[in-house]
Subunit: 505 residues, 2 copies
Amino acid sequence: MNGAECLLRTLLANGVDLCLMNPGTSEMQFVSALDRVPAMRGVLCLQESVCAGAADGYARITGRPAATLLHLGPGLANALSNFHNARKARSSIVNIVGEHSTQHLRYDAPLTADVEAFARPVSAWVRTLDDPLNMGAAAAEAVRESLRPPGGVASFIIPADHSWSESGEPGPSIASEPRRLTNPARISACSSILASGEPAAVLLGGSATSRRSIEAAARLGVPVFLNRYAACVPRGRKWSFARRVSYFPEHAEVLLAGIKHLILVEAEAPVSFFGYPGRRSTVAPEDCTLHVLATQQEDGCAALEALCGDAAFPPESTSPVMPEDGPLTPESLGAVLAALLPEGAIVSDEMVSCGEPINRALEHAAEHDLLPVTGGSIGQGLPVALGAALAAPHRKVISLEADGSAMYSLQALWTMARERLDVITVILNNRRYRILDIEMQRTGAGPVGPKAEEMIDISRPALDWLYLAAGLGVPATRATTAAEFAAQFRSALNASGPHLIEAVL
Amino acid sequence: MNGAECLLRTLLANGVDLCLMNPGTSEMQFVSALDRVPAMRGVLCLQESVCAGAADGYARITGRPAATLLHLGPGLANALSNFHNARKARSSIVNIVGEHSTQHLRYDAPLTADVEAFARPVSAWVRTLDDPLNMGAAAAEAVRESLRPPGGVASFIIPADHSWSESGEPGPSIASEPRRLTNPARISACSSILASGEPAAVLLGGSATSRRSIEAAARLGVPVFLNRYAACVPRGRKWSFARRVSYFPEHAEVLLAGIKHLILVEAEAPVSFFGYPGRRSTVAPEDCTLHVLATQQEDGCAALEALCGDAAFPPESTSPVMPEDGPLTPESLGAVLAALLPEGAIVSDEMVSCGEPINRALEHAAEHDLLPVTGGSIGQGLPVALGAALAAPHRKVISLEADGSAMYSLQALWTMARERLDVITVILNNRRYRILDIEMQRTGAGPVGPKAEEMIDISRPALDWLYLAAGLGVPATRATTAAEFAAQFRSALNASGPHLIEAVL
């Protein structure tokens, strides 16, 4: 068989059966091989940032890698911002990038670029295939490296001639390396701290934001905090006791005030999103000691369970109340969402300035999974929702999107329509990069003059999301009151396939 | 003054008065400084690939750099594919990238990335500002380096605290280095070749595709070829004698057949866009000797003029004929364009599979400037048209776009509407990545099976360009016959501001 078919068969043998792609000439053999390898699902995206973000969303839900198939350096370049987010999410992704054929590369043709250099800043592993006979082994290695704890992007660059040459048999199925157990001395040390009675708390990140990990943490009887930028966190009233660290440092400082010992479980020390004049970057109290229970590479859940807590599970927060009709605001929209969100839903959050009140409301919703911003690269929300829907076709996916952010990767809507995925996209349309109003002040750059205003206001021309959605094949409605939003959201939940609601705020 | 204001004033002092931007928190000081530096024009784009492509288009028309202002590593990442095209176009661009404040960088906050590593593969020069007091000198250096022949992207990375700190006075106005004169021995050698009577031709690239250069080349009395991927080439019936090297290598080989000496003027040896099985990458005859008259860094125009040719200027091609009404095809659409294109128009070409017949028709049009694909990174056409319109507000800009390609950076339409630019965008809608049908066969990967078909067909759902344009604030019409297209194109030429025509092929 040729190299392309060998690649697909090796990916399948290693559990990778979804490929998000935007192929070009150098990847034609892989496209052709799809018809000879029926178990590999190919999903087309109209811009590579969608491929990368969707693979990120898929990994966050399944814990397994999808593949991306991208066209040379420039195709990879378009995907880098969402690979940045995937890297911060520690998502496993097998990123296949086509390269010019080996004999063509020396000629500096238009598309020639330094593909490895593009790949390195976002990848845990980068390899350019040197010989088609190594295809099977290298492809298996790519899967294994993507899964190596804590998980990452494995970029596998394949010259075109290696895809059309004879490659021999597919590579082996390789077991992925498990997470290491944490050193018992760390467990003892943390156990002593918890026994000391001094104010302590745990901060969970990485795979330790799983339900089982949070349950074990809850039994320790100390406050449980979650890395705000974790890949996937259970939310809703059952899990509201586990608090996400706040976005703004002054809020995070209030949240963490008084804690003398912060136990880190697959989490780094909490820091501010941005640095600001005259403010420190870390948000834990200055006299707080940090203790690592489990590193990013270790098994945080096992370590938490080894602490053998026996405190009672914290009580649920109150049930949500459907709001009266009234103006559509982040608060009323959040209340409607909380009242209607079905159990088991997946929420992709790129709400930016509207996020705080809506996330607060969702603390009263039925149990669901939240996919937060991880790397802060705008344009994550829609692609991550797409990938989550591919991963969990029987769950409702709700994509909560700021209007400005949605514009970075709106092409994702087309693939949702093409694959008939159950994604409800809510565009929070305030016609403004609202967060920048806040950040202008915080960075000491304000007040906003008329020319600065032009860089923040996006109302001229107004983006019309009904038209944009229709152009991309997604049915859409517009809500301007809480009751309209409730009716439209309820109707979308009862339908199948994608729907977009433009929420005019 | 603070660093941000110092930067803007230094850019202005060095002739840079346009900044294409998508700023974030780390760039707020620059946004604020716009109000204190009125001569600097800020233009907002909704995705960074639009900023980069627009700066490329601006440089191709003016020969001067615009600035881009991007938000940290991820903002830069989104711009890389169009910076790749700009690099291949040898366009001068001053690329300002914000970075976390120096004290925040060590904490690996979500947006932290290796900004320099992202910048290097596309940049001729990369510098991270180390001290706010060096702002003025470094900004002037960035402009100079962007202009250093042959021109390139100068990436200047500025930690946020250096923008809000005191920086001292703006930097100096620095003269840019002129192109070097070519070695007289090379001129003598080429002169001898031309005198020998052996079959010879010249291939022009870089700045040597200017009118003056082509005129000098025409007087040599040998065939004149243009690098297909040059940044800007004059076209229309006056210039049709200067042939662009063909896209497909077998066509290029026919074009160049019989030539024994190819004189390269700011051009590299012509090569195939892609490598194919069993086909060589170079397209000049195997027995053809290549002679460098001027390198990329040298003054090709002066070198051509030094050859002192005295042949008659070649005759014009025939005038175009408006076609009868009939189905809209690339051929009939090209004929309409050729008949109606106003003298002095600028054409941005990202037509892909429709390009050949339309470009052939435009050889009979009035004199105009063509901005070709340079680096092959898809998503160039609309942003380059935007930048050209910013550079030349009194000229009509025609953006000829494949439907698949337009989807990569459709956000450019919004900025065209916002800035009320005279850009007519023609979407060549064949609902297919048609070029891949051809490339499947050429790479030996065909025939196209049903799963491969799914990666090439983009008709499900159909992209509706009237809705997409309306969503982005651009008036649009749809043409399905040659007469409809002619009426709509004529009407758009007579109007001001942007217009989009969806040409259903």
